[in-house]
C-alpha cells in the first residue's frame, strides 16, 4: 500500500518533469525563431540603411517613440495584421497544442490511476467483508475451528481477525455451556432417582416386615422404622427440590444490601434446636456489622447448611465458632468446629453433589450429600467462594467469602 503510493507519486513527478523539459525545449525553439526574425529584420535594415543598427539597438533596449504603432501600420499592408494571435503562428500553435495534450494526458493518467486504486480498495474491502461475513456465518452455524482460523488469516488486519476469533470462541463457549447444562440436567435426574431409590426400598421392606409381623412389639418397631425412613425421604425430597430449582434456574437470587448479622441470625436460628440438643454452643466473636450484596434467604440457607454439618459432626458439648472479618472487597465468614475434620483428599470433594465422606463417623450420620453442594452453588452464583481448611484443634474451618 505504502509502496504503491510512493511508486505512483514518483511516476507522476517523472512524467511532469519530462513534460516540463519538452515544453521548455519547445518554448526555447519558439524563442530562437523569434530572435532569428529580429536578426533578419535588423540585417535587412542595416543592409538598406547602414548605421541604423544603433537605432535598432536602442529599440531592442526598450525605447518605443511610437515605433510599435508605425511598424504595425507599415506591415499591415503586407497582410501582417494586428489581429494576429500567438495561436495563428505555427511555432506557438505547436507549443500550445503540445501543452494541452500533455496536461490532458497527465490528468487523464492521474484520474485513471485514482479510479483503479479506488476500485482495488473497494474490491479488497468487499473481499474482507465477505470473509468476515462468512466467518460470522460459520460461527453461527458452529463451523470447524480450523477453517475459521484459516479464514481469519486471510483478513489483512490481524486485530480484527483476533477479535473475530474471540467472538466466535465466546459464542462456541456459550453453546457448549448450554449443552453441558442439558447434560447436567440429565445426570441430575439420574442422580435424584438413585437417591430416592434407597430410602424407598428400605421403606418398602420395613412395611413388608410390618405386615408379616407376629407380635405387637415387632409391629411397633417396624412402624417406627417406617416412620424414620419417611422422615429421611421427606428431608431428601426437600433438598432435592432445592437443588433442582437451583439447577433449572427457578431460584433466582435477588442480591440486595443485606446485613451480615441478619444473615447469620437467620442461619443460626434454623439450626439452634439441633445444637441445643447436643449441648453445642454457637459462639460468635464480636464484629462490626457490614452490609453485603447478597440474597438474604438463600445466603442464610447456604451458611445454615455449613453450621448444620458442624453441629452434626461435632461431639456434644463443644463450641462452634463464627468469625466475621471485613476485607477490601469481600467479607470473610469463618465457621470453625471441633468435629472429626475432613481428610485432605476429601476436602474438595465434600462440595460435590451427593458426595459423602468415607469415614465411619460420617456414615453413622444421616445425610444426603446435598447440603454443601447447595451451599457452594448458592455462594458461587453470587460471586463468592466457599472452601474448607483444617482447624488447629482437629476440626474444620469453613471459609465463606461474600462480595461487599
Amino acid at each position: 500500500m505504502k509502496r504503491a503510493v510512493i511508486i505512483f507519486s514518483a511516476a507522476v513527478l517523472c512524467l511532469t518533469a519530462a513534460f516540463n523539459v519538452l515544453f521548455g525545449i519547445a518554448a526555447e525553439k519558439a524563442f530562437r525563431s523569434e530572435t532569428d526574425t529580429v536578426y533578419r529584420l535588423c540585417g535587412a535594415f542595416a543592409d538598406e540603411y547602414p548605421g541604423s543598427e544603433k537605432k535598432a539597438a536602442s529599440v531592442l533596449a526598450g525605447e518605443d517613440n511610437g515605433y510599435t504603432e508605425a511598424g504595425r501600420a507599415a506591415l499591415a499592408k503586407y497582410g501582417y495584421d494586428a489581429e494576429r494571435t500567438a495561436f495563428s503562428e505555427q511555432r506557438y500553435r505547436e507549443i500550445i497544442v503540445f501543452e494541452i495534450i500533455c496536461s490532458a494526458a497527465l490528468s487523464g493518467l492521474i484520474l485513471l490511476c485514482g479510479a483503479l486504486y479506488i476500485r482495488a480498495v473497494r474490491r479488497e474491502r468487499r473481499r474482507q467483508e465477505d470473509l468476515i461475513v462468512s466467518m460470522l456465518d460459520k460461527c453461527i452455524s458452529g463451523g470447524e475451528e480450523q477453517t475459521m482460523l484459516e479464514n481469519a488469516g486471510l483478513i489483512g488486519n490481524d486485530m480484527v481477525s483476533d477479535e473475530l476469533i474471540k467472538v466466535c470462541g465466546a459464542m462456541k463457549l456459550k453453546s457448549d455451556t448450554l449443552s453441558e447444562e442439558r447434560d447436567n440436567t440429565k445426570s441430575l435426574v439420574t442422580d435424584i432417582s438413585h437417591q430416592l431409590k434407597t430410602p424407598l426400598s428400605a421403606l418398602k421392606s420395613c412395611f413388608a416386615v410390618y405386615k408379616e409381623a407376629d407380635s405387637i412389639e415387632e409391629r411397633t418397631e417396624f412402624v417406627n422404622r417406617c416412620e424414620a425412613q419417611i422422615d429421611k425421604l421427606e428431608a431428601l425430597t426437600a433438598s432435592l427440590i432445592n437443588i433442582s430449582r437451583l439447577e433449572t434456574g427457578i431460584i433466582t437470587l435477588e442480591e440486595t444490601e443485606t446485613s451480615v448479622t441478619d444473615i447469620l441470625i437467620q442461619s443460626i436460628n434454623s439450626v439452634y434446636y439441633k445444637a441445643a440438643d447436643k449441648n453445642i454452643n454457637i459462639v460468635t466473636e464480636e464484629f462490626e456489622d457490614v452490609t453485603v450484596n447478597a440474597d438474604k434467604k438463600w445466603t442464610a440457607e447456604a451458611i445454615a447448611n455449613i453450621i448444620d454439618n458442624a453441629v452434626k459432626y461435632s461431639p456434644a458439648g463443644t463450641d462452634i465458632k463464627l468469625r466475621v472479618i471485613k476485607m477490601f472487597s469481600f467479607v470473610r465468614i469463618e465457621i470453625e468446629d471441633s468435629g472429626t475434620g475432613i481428610p485432605r483428599s476429601e476436602r474438595n470433594r465434600v462440595f460435590e453433589r451427593f458426595y459423602r465422606g468415607n469415614s465411619a463417623d460420617v456414615k453413622k450420620q444421616d445425610g444426603t450429600g446435598v447440603g454443601l453442594y447447595l451451599t457452594r452453588r448458592l455462594i458461587e452464583n453470587q460471586g463468592g467462594t466457599v472452601s474448607v481448611r483444617p482447624a488447629a484443634g482437629g476440626g474444620s474451618i469453613f471459609v465463606v467469602q461474600l462480595m461487599l
Binding site: 475451528e145 480450523q146 482460523l149 486485530m159 483476533d162 476469533i165 474471540k166 470462541g169 465466546a170 462456541k172 463457549l173 457448549d176 455451556t177 453441558e180 472479618i325 476485607m327 477490601f328 472487597s329 469481600f330 470473610r332 485432605r344 476436602r347 474438595n348 460471586g383 463468592g384 467462594t385 472452601s387 474448607v388 481448611r389 471459609v399 467469602q401 462480595m403 461487599l404
Partner: protein, 222 residues
C-alpha cells in the same frame, strides 16, 4: 468443549548427560475455554517452568504449546510477544508492577505497548470489580501487598486476554488476603469470560478451582 491452551509431549530439560534435570517431562495438558484450572505441586516439581512454557516465556526442549489453536513453536520473538500481549495476561507472585507509574498507568501499560487505546469503560469496570477505585492515582509503593496484586490482576485483565496465567499469585500474601485475591481472580475471570490457570503449592488455595491438576517431577500425577 473448546481447548484454548494445549501442551503436547512438552519437555524442558536443563543440563546434559548425568546431570540432566527434567523440569517438565513429556507432559500433556489441555485447558478448556472458560475453565479455572489450578496446577498444584511442591516447589521444584516443575510447575513454574510449565507456566513459563505455556505462556511462551521460555522455549521447550521439545514438544508443542498451542495457544488458541496456534502452535507457538517456531514463531519469531516479535510474533510471540504479540500473542503474549493479546492472548495472555500474566500475574506473578512478586506483582511486577512498574514502580515509577501509578496504578492506572500500570494497568493500561500493556495496551500502550500494543499500540491500542484502552477501552476506558471496561478498564474502569475492572478497577471497580477489584475495588481499586480510590487507588488509581496511587504509586505502587504506597499500596499493600493485596492491593498490588489486585493491580496486577487488573493489568492482566485489561488487555482482554483469553487466558490469565498466574504464578503463585498469593505466595507473598497472608492467608486471608490470599483467599480474597483468589476470589477476585476467579470473579474477574468468570465475569470477563477468561480462562484462568493458577499455579500454586497451596492445596487449600486450589479448592476454589474448577479442576485441579497435580504435578510431580515434571509430570501430571494421578
Amino acid at each position: 468443549m473448546k481447548a484454548i491452551l494445549e501442551a503436547k509431549k512438552l519437555c524442558k530439560y536443563y543440563g546434559s548427560g548425568e546431570n540432566t534435570v527434567r523440569a517438565v517431562d513429556n507432559l500433556d495438558l489441555t485447558v478448556y475455554h472458560g475453565e479455572f484450572v489450578a496446577i498444584v505441586g511442591k516447589s521444584g516439581s516443575g510447575k513454574s517452568t510449565l507456566l513459563h512454557l505455556l505462556g511462551g516465556l521460555d522455549d521447550p526442549t521439545s514438544g508443542d504449546v498451542i495457544i488458541d489453536g496456534k502452535n507457538i513453536a517456531g514463531l519469531s520473538d516479535e510474533q510471540l510477544a504479540k500473542i503474549r500481549r493479546r492472548k495472555i495476561g500474566f500475574v506473578f507472585q512478586s506483582y511486577n508492577l512498574v514502580p515509577s507509574l501509578n496504578v492506572w498507568e500500570n494497568i493500561v501499560l500493556p495496551l500502550g505497548l500494543d499500540g491500542r487505546k484502552p477501552d476506558e469503560k471496561y478498564v474502569k469496570d475492572i478497577i471497580r470489580t477489584l475495588g481499586l477505585e480510590s487507588k488509581v492515582k496511587s504509586m505502587p509503593n504506597t499500596l499493600s501487598g493485596g492491593q498490588q496484586q489486585r493491580t496486577a490482576i487488573a493489568r492482566a485483565a485489561a488487555a482482554k486476554p483469553s487466558i490469565i496465567l498466574a504464578d503463585e499469585p498469593t505466595g507473598n500474601l497472608d492467608t486471608k488476603t490470599g483467599d480474597e485475591v483468589m476470589a477476585m481472580l476467579r470473579l474477574s475471570a468468570k465475569k470477563y469470560g477468561q480462562t484462568l490457570v493458577v499455579i500454586t503449592h497451596n492445596e487449600d488455595i486450589a479448592q476454589t478451582a474448577d479442576r485441579t491438576v497435580v504435578i510431580e517431577d515434571g509430570r501430571i500425577a494421578g
